[in-house]
């Protein structure tokens, strides 16, 4: 394997990682602050992608599409928080899983009802399409580089929000002791709605960004949701820093494992077996990573609570 190919695969891993981070950030905040397992997070990812496809189709502007994806998913998030999720904070996790699973079904069939069963068209704008040549002669799609940039910018923005702003202080306080910050006069239900809408908006933005290079279709959010859960379990529940490190670990492991393992197996067996055994093991690799991390640190890399 040439160094150029390896460098390209590392970029691919980082790109997958930062998009997983944008998806997982909201999930980990909601779990950390409200103690809620939200399976419908993947549906908000889908809502963002569909809103972007609809707006891009109507106006032709990709920027407008991204803004509307963020807005639509945040609005959908705020709506379900007020109507459904709010009633679940005091219930146990099984009730939360059941109710948010029901939301997945409602979102999926609702989306099909509005947009139909066929995948929608959403594409990269012309000014971001095509490959660029990086130092060292690596040809890499400009859009994927943009995704890395946007993901890192969001990560930086979230760090500032959590560590420097008043809202961030309230969120951190909410993670540590809910009753106490309510007693101090913070409107806890408003805080919850804001955190939920923020997480939903980020999921919707991720859906729109990723939807441009993938297929915008009903059910697109669920595979990403599973990866996002792996990310927050590895990173430690409630930790933004953990989500970033976990997402990059998962992205790199998944990408490099898929490329390197079949090569590794070829040293021992014939090519056909190596391809299928390598691919099979590569798809398990992130779960093996998760298990190893949990054995080593049961609360995840940066998790505070058990």
């Amino acid at each position: 394997m040439s160094p150029i190919l390896l460098a390209e695969q590392i970029l691919n891993g980082v790109q997958l990682g930062v998009m997983l981070f944008v998806m997982a950030a909201g999930l980990t905040l909601v779990f950390g602050v409200m103690g809620l397992i939200n399976l419908a997070h993947g549906s908000l990812f889908m809502v963002g992608a569909f809103a972007a496809a609809a707006v891009a189709g109507a106006t032709g502007s990709f920027m407008l599409a991204l803004v509307s994806a963020l807005a639509a998913a945040a609005a959908a998030g705020a709506l379900i928080e007020v109507l459904v999720i709010r009633r679940l904070y005091a219930r146990d996790h099984l009730d939360q899983v059941l109710a948010t699973f029901a939301l997945i079904l409602i979102f999926s069939e609702g989306t099909r009802w509005i947009f139909g069963s066929f995948p929608l068209y959403l594409n990269i704008p012309d000014y971001l399409s095509g490959p660029v040549t990086l130092p060292g002669g690596i040809q890499y799609p400009l859009y994927r580089l943009t995704l890395i940039g946007i993901g890192l910018a969001i990560a930086a923005g979230l760090f500032v929000l959590i560590s420097k702003t008043r809202l961030g202080i309230q969120i951190r306080a909410g993670e540590n002791d809910r009753e106490m910050i309510a007693a101090l006069g913070v409107d806890i239900s408003k805080l919850y709605t804001i955190v939920f809408a923020l997480g939903a908006g980020l999921a919707g933005l991720a859906g729109a960004l990723v939807g441009a290079i993938q297929s915008v279709q009903v059910g697109m959010g669920e595979p990403v949701l599973i990866l996002a859960f792996v990310v927050i379990v590895i990173g430690g529940i409630g930790s933004i820093k953990g989500a970033l490190i976990g997402a990059l670990l998962v992205g790199l492991t998944d990408t490099l494992g898929g490329v390197l393992l079949p090569h590794l197996f070829k040293l021992f067996t014939d090519p056909a077996t190596a391809t299928s055994a390598g691919s099979a093991l590569a798809s398990m690799l992130i779960y093996i990573l998760m298990a190893v991390v949990l054995i080593w640190k049961p609360t995840g890399l940066f998790g505070a609570r058990a």
């Binding site: 394997m1 040439s2 150029i4 190919l5 390209e8 695969q9 691919n12 790109q15 997958l16 079904l105 999926s108 069939e109 099909r112 069963s117 066929f118 995948p119 929608l120 068209y121 594409n123 990269i124 399409s129 095509g130 490959p131 040809q139 799609p141 859009y143 994927r144 990723v210 441009a212 290079i213 993938q214 297929s215 915008v216 279709q217 009903v218 059910g219 697109m220 595979p223 990408t255 898929g258 490329v259 079949p262 090519p271 056909a272 391809t275 299928s276 691919s279 099979a280 798809s283």
Partner: protein, 383 residues
């Protein structure tokens, strides 16, 4: 997600007298189990719409169709089949899209003496040793379109192909099918995860491999993702694949990225025969969209059934089977006949993706394989 049940008493003939006397004699009840919700719903909806269009055009009041959604889940498909056979008492089952669901339902259904007409899935196990006198496949055996892609690669002069497919039985069959006809070298072979949406890593390997052509089988959303990312990567090695990533429902979502890509199919909307022309026109008039190959398969399945109903009574299974074997109906594919294992012998065409006004569609540019059966027929002992 509530399973919908649509009952069709197809247009009433409007004649009293003779028709009144035999309302029950020869009536056929069809149970259609297909995918109408979730990610793969586009395929099931096309099969259903094609089938119901043929039923409506025939105006046959002896055909009653019960439609249920399998949600692309084998366990649900099996439950629905049991319900249709035991309490609805259907005579014929049809509709399943996916091979894993077909394997779960068909052996049990034919063992209980029901006819099964497949409008899509054609797993190799049911074409070879597992074949049955009551099971007919009206679409293709799973390997066919991939074999045609391999044959096309030879005629295009490709010597060094990079091939990839998802890691599940139909994906492995696809690579085997391609390799069975393709005579050149392989510069790489990859099995991707089923449902994978990001192909950056695979595309980087294709770029580094020095291949002169790429064969891929990535049905549904996987193909959309791959084609968009491939077009954006700047790799310009020609791509060939089976029609499943280029059907009418998917092309609009891929857009320009699919233009000029060559794919193989047993059907195309520009196939020049009167049945097909009328089918494309009436499908558009009825549903307001262009038909896909899945819709043509549903349409042919219904017409096959109707042709057998004209010749024999469903209560006489042997006669009805013989009537089905004759395949005496006007297919949208032109010539159509059944092999000894009840799978089609048909021409498979090479198509190219073009743009007509605002709509992306396919145009036939040649024939890959003529009168092509499948490799499994020899293993089939009908009994």
């Amino acid at each position: 997600m509530t399973p919908r049940t649509l009952a069709l008493a197809a247009c009433i003939a409007g004649l009293a007298g003779g028709a009144f006397a035999d309302t029950h004699a020869g009536k056929v009840k069809v149970g259609m189990i297909t995918t109408l919700s979730g990610g793969g719903a586009g395929l099931g909806i096309d099969v259903r719409d094609g089938f119901m269009l043929a039923a409506k055009q025939a105006g046959n009041d002896k055909l009653e169709v019960i439609i249920e959604d399998d949600q692309r889940k084998p366990d649900i498909a099996v439950q629905l089949a049991d319900k249709m056979i035991q309490s609805e008492k259907v005579d014929v089952l049809t509709g399943i899209i996916w091979s894993n669901l077909a394997m779960a339902v068909i052996p049990g259904a034919v063992a209980q003496g029901k006819f099964y007409l497949s409008p899509n899935a054609g797993p190799s196990a049911l074409a070879g040793r597992g074949c049955s006198p009551l099971y007919f496949n009206v679409a293709w055996q799973n390997d066919n379109l991939h074999e045609a892609a391999g044959a096309y690669a030879n005629s295009a002069g490709y010597k060094n192909s990079f091939i990839l497919a998802p890691n599940y039985p139909a994906g492995q069959d696809a690579l085997t099918g391609y390799k069975s006809q393709y005579e050149g070298e392989l510069s790489g072979e990859l099995l991707t995860a089923l449902g994978q949406t990001d192909y950056a890593s695979e595309i980087a390997q294709i770029r580094a491999s020095g291949a002169d052509s790429v064969f891929f089988f990535l049905p549904g959303g996987m193909g959309i993702s791959f084609l968009k990312q491939y077009a954006d990567s700047g790799v310009d090695i020609p791509v060939v694949g089976p029609a499943f990533s280029f059907d009418q429902g998917i092309l609009q979502a891929v857009g320009d990225a699919a233009l000029g890509v060559v794919n193989t199919s047993q059907w195309s909307k520009d196939l020049d025969n009167p049945t097909n022309t009328a089918f494309v026109e009436s499908f558009q008039a009825e549903y307001g969209r262009l038909p896909s190959l899945y819709a043509s398969q549903g349409f042919d399945t219904a017409n096959l059934l109707l042709s057998a109903m004209d010749k024999a009574d469903i209560s006489d299974a042997d006669a009805f089977q013989a009537a089905l074997e004759e395949a005496d109906f006007a297919s949208t594919r032109g010539e159509f006949k059944f092999n000894t294992n009840h799978h089609p012998i048909q021409d498979i065409y090479v198509r190219e993706v073009i743009r007509e006004g605002d709509v992306y569609t396919n145009k036939i540019i040649g024939t890959a394989l003529e009168d092509h059966g499948d490799a499994h027929a020899a293993e089939c002992q009908m009994q």
